[in-house]
Assembly symmetry: C6
């Protein structure tokens, strides 16, 4: 029922990733030191994709966990399940990763409760251990194991932030949306639309991203541009496709909608 | 006891749905791309009916879940149950939908806790997977699976809103009450009353909808018009039928009640 | 141990109910359309009695649930219990009602948590289904099933109110205390005291009801008048009987008590 | 292990109770009507003793439950326990009382959560039933069953008060400390000290009770006077005995302590 | 696995306790009356030691429970455990004490939740019973059983205080730090250092205790003086020993630390 | 499955630790007295390393628990697990430590709930016992057992602080970052970079530590300097290595980042 099969977590084909600066090399150096890494950046700028790419490049299995505020330490570490012979221990994703030497990616770690963030402490210093306290077992992490977390600086409120004693266990890399040229290539390649149309979509996104903090909580992500491109490729009229993917999901504020629709109309005429 | 029977979720007869603009075509294109969809609009304007109609048109099973603030991730994904041979895994509705290739419709998603909304992340990007963390299984969604959520913009408070990292995973369509002509047809057809009486009911609804934000939290829905029509059709005197279905359920404020009753009396005399 | 016996829920003898206006006919029409109904009115004005009476008149079993803020959806829908052969599903009162075609009366629904109120949504639209999500079963409601809820408008605070998407699923009837003549008959008939004494009790109640919102949270209910009458009938001196049932339970405010005692002394002299 | 033995709940010897006015007769009339009763009054004024006395006088078993804010409906009604053959239902004290026809005394009901207070509704109107919803059983209360609750008006805050729909299910009796003469007799009789010394203790209590609301939250109860008398009877010097039982437990405020000690020194000299 | 062995709870050797006034005699009189006792006083002034001493003197077993805000009534009373033959009841410490006639000492009772404090009510009045409601058993306390609670008046906030209906069930004794002469003897005797050095430590404590409420939350306890003496006896230089035990644990405020260090330097020179 | 093997907790090789003052000798004296110890100081200054060093020096097993706000007393003490023969008790880390005579190190104790902190009281006074209340067993701590807690004074808020009755059970030692010379040696030795480069890293840290309370919540820890050195040793250009480890993890404030980057550029030129 639950085989911790290494193969199941391997990234089998090269994920599409265009490096921006030297982040691939820096990450490789960090991985060599098995340094825990923190990836910072806005929603949908490619942090998850980058981890997948690095897992593929380093030929390491990847275990991703989307963190949330109701997640408990047991969700990460494991728990006892009732079996016909009594209780049976079920490894959680973090335990599995530590055993098989995977890269464990905790997405949006700030969302998690403190017991989730504290559980990673002994895995992120010289000990590299994971105590399964409920089981009375101390796991020594596999030599290839690495912990990666993501973090959206725009989200942190006074209520939710990582403790300094957690932050200071990670090297960190900043991420941002791809460069215009690169993002255009990504959109074209992932959707099959022509580069000119893809470029227009990226232009619209740039306008929206400038509105962040001025009425929008977050700019348009690359993912939404890909959605727009997919609809256009399926024959949807570009203005409709953009409204449906770049305007309506983002905001319900009538003024902001008008501004975004104007941006769409600048590049596409219905 | 729990057969995940595809047939059980099929919409067997064509639901009554009158399209307003090109929302049917846009949805079809979105479905072709298996794009997760968000339907926005006020209470009772036909979002649920639209999803049912599309499920029927696309010949896909439909699994609907009414979200609420006490719903846990396990309510969606599944849980272990105690059996005579120990524990047995019971798929939740989202898992069932992902396995059988259904359209999974999460109604009023904002009501749910964050762990419910985060659990859908890997199903709504290129991965299209659903990790059953408690079971240690990673489900690859059936190629026909699609996720649809609904969202009432009037409800969002500062406390309850979708995170941008969730919103930006969906294409979105706006919904509103049907056009006067269409709504009249709907009411007449669903209740068996004549078009003139149905038209009067729709007129009353229009007056009430103009009061939204001016003393009413929400306008009169098409459903309530159908209720009024049904009572009239059963022989109830129209004014009584309207008070019982269009006035009393909506508000307890004496002024608003008087205003609404005046609207009823304009069209029907007791 | 738990037979969902239809007979057990039948109202066997005609409950005493005096109709005020045309509420019996309106309810009958609503029941013919299987329209979900909401009964609005102050504490102790006869809403529960009315439902009982209608269940008797329509010859339908009646299942009543007193809602409260700690009630979970499972309390309504059902849950798995541990048995010697593992788990056994136990229908909740709502499920039982849906299966056997009973009228299910959820008393003071606003008190319940949101998961309780949301669970009734699919039972209150054209679907008339109840998904037992934990069991993976979709119940189609019996054709005779109807849902009725009660609602005390005086209670709603900003914190506790039904969502519009719930409200707009119900036809609604307003209830109030019975007319003076009727209430006098009720008190006399239910307690065995003479009509004159019963009339005095009703007069006292009228005075107290005028104080609602002016120092009293709620007026004296018919039930308390019946209590007073029962004590008088058992030989208790009327002033003592009134203090014990119409004054002491209602308030601890010395001024309000004095006012109420004065009202008692106006009609009865010790 | 849990025999609901009627004998176990019988009050075997006459509890010492001195009636103040006609409360014994009023209660007897109320019991004849099986009217649910609410006893109101300050801490330690004899409400619990009165119920015990009435149970003895009426020859009914008495089941007392001290309510608290963590008590659940299951604590009153009962729950399923795991047994070697699966689950076994265990009646709670309210269920036991309803089955065997006991007087069920819920002490300090306001402390309980709402699900506890709502569970008693069907037991306190013409239905006289107790639905064991988790068991799917509807209990008809034994014809001798009566429900009694206590209520300390000084405690109610805005947060904690009974709902009117609960209050209006009870007849009510006010209680206060015994008259000076009676209280002196009680203290002398229960402790074995002479009437003169007992009288002094009661005088001290009277002074303290006048301070209620002027620095003291509650006056000195009869119970504490009995404690003082017991110590004096065991040979403790009266001033020490009074400090230990009438001053130190009540307050830590230095001024109030000085005032109370002065009252003690007025009547006893060390 | 869990034998409620009386011997296990016996205090086998005489605990070191120096009486201050007549508290030993007063307690003995209270115990003769089996009066529940409340010990009031600051942290570390010897309340727990006093109870141990009295248990030894009275030759009664002693069961001590450190209360905390997450302690439930079940932690005190007991619970059902799953066994191979189903459930097995496990007495909690309060139940054990009531059965075997021990003194049950609930340390820092105010910390506990209300269900914990209310559970002791029937044990602290003339009933002397403990209802095991989950088990359906009513325990009559052993004739030697006595309940003792401790209470630190400095801690009570508006949020956490005992209810008057709880307080008025106890006789009470005030405790404070020992007299200078006595405390010096205690420190010398428990650590093996000479009386002169012990006297200096006590002087430092007196200075710190005067700072309570003027920058320090609590004065230096006798326990910390014993710690200082133990280190000095192990050869640690007195100033270092004092800083480590009398200054650093108490406060992080630089000014308060300086003041305390100055007090240390007045008596010891490095 | 869970052998409380002493060997498993032994620190097998000497941890690198440079003593600052006489803290090693003071700790040894405290251990001789089995005095519970509290280590105070900022994040990453070496408290955990010190405990490891002392455990190695004293040849005692070490059990470390990272405390968090969701940790319960059962997580420390142990719990019953379901087995094929019923329930089986599983010792928690604190219980294990008390049994085998380990040093038990509770890291960041303030984070824990109160039941966790209160559970240690009987282990930290003359009793040296640990009551397993759920099991009905009283453990006498092994004569070599010692309890150590850590505490970051900068973290304490009004909400989270240790109670004085807990604080006054510990001797305490202050910790701070190592002296410049020592920290340089540590960084050089742990990373393999030359002393000059290590010295530059320490200089950068000194500048950042001066910003604590002036825009930074916490200074740069020694651990982050080691991270920087490791990357430099793997061939990463020093400025990039510093940004990734000393700037990006610490803060998202643009001004603070600029200040920190300026500090980096002062010592390294790209």
């Amino acid at each position: 029922m639950s085989k911790n099969n290494v193969e199941q977590y391997k990234v089998t084909s090269e994920p599409f990733y265009k490096s921006v600066e030297d982040e691939v090399e820096l990450y490789e150096a960090a991985y060599k030191a098995r340094m825990p890494m923190m990836l910072k950046g806005p929603t949908g700028c490619g942090k998850s994709r980058f981890v997948e790419y690095m897992a593929w490049k380093l030929q390491r299995p990847l275990i991703t966990v989307a963190c949330n505020e109701d997640m408990t330490a047991s969700d990460l570490v494991g728990r006892f399940l009732l079996d016909k012979d009594g209780t049976r221990w079920q490894d959680g994703p973090l335990t599995t990763a530590a055993r098989i030497g995977a890269i464990c990616y905790l997405d949006e770690i700030v969302e998690a409760r403190q017991d989730t963030t504290v559980i990673i402490h002994p895995l992120t210093d010289h000990r590299r251990t994971l105590p399964l306290e409920k089981k009375g077992e101390l796991i020594e992490a596999h030599e290839d194991f690495q912990l990666v977390i993501s973090y959206n600086p725009g989200y942190q409120s006074l209520m939710k932030d990582l403790k300094q004693s957690t932050k200071q266990r990670f090297g960190a890399l900043d991420f941002d949306y791809p460069l215009e040229k690169d993002e255009t290539d990504i959109v074209a390649q992932e959707t099959g639309i022509d580069v000119e149309t893809a470029g227009k979509l990226v232009q619209i996104a740039h306008r929206a991203r400038n509105l962040k903090g001025h009425g929008l909580d977050e700019g348009i992500s690359t993912r939404l541009l890909v959605y727009a491109g997919q609809l256009i490729n399926k024959g949807v009229e570009p203005v409709s496709a953009c409204i449906m993917t770049l305007v309506t999901p983002l905001t319900d504020d009538p003024d902001m909608r008008e501004t975004l629709e104007a941006a769409v109309n600048t590049f596409f005429v219905k």
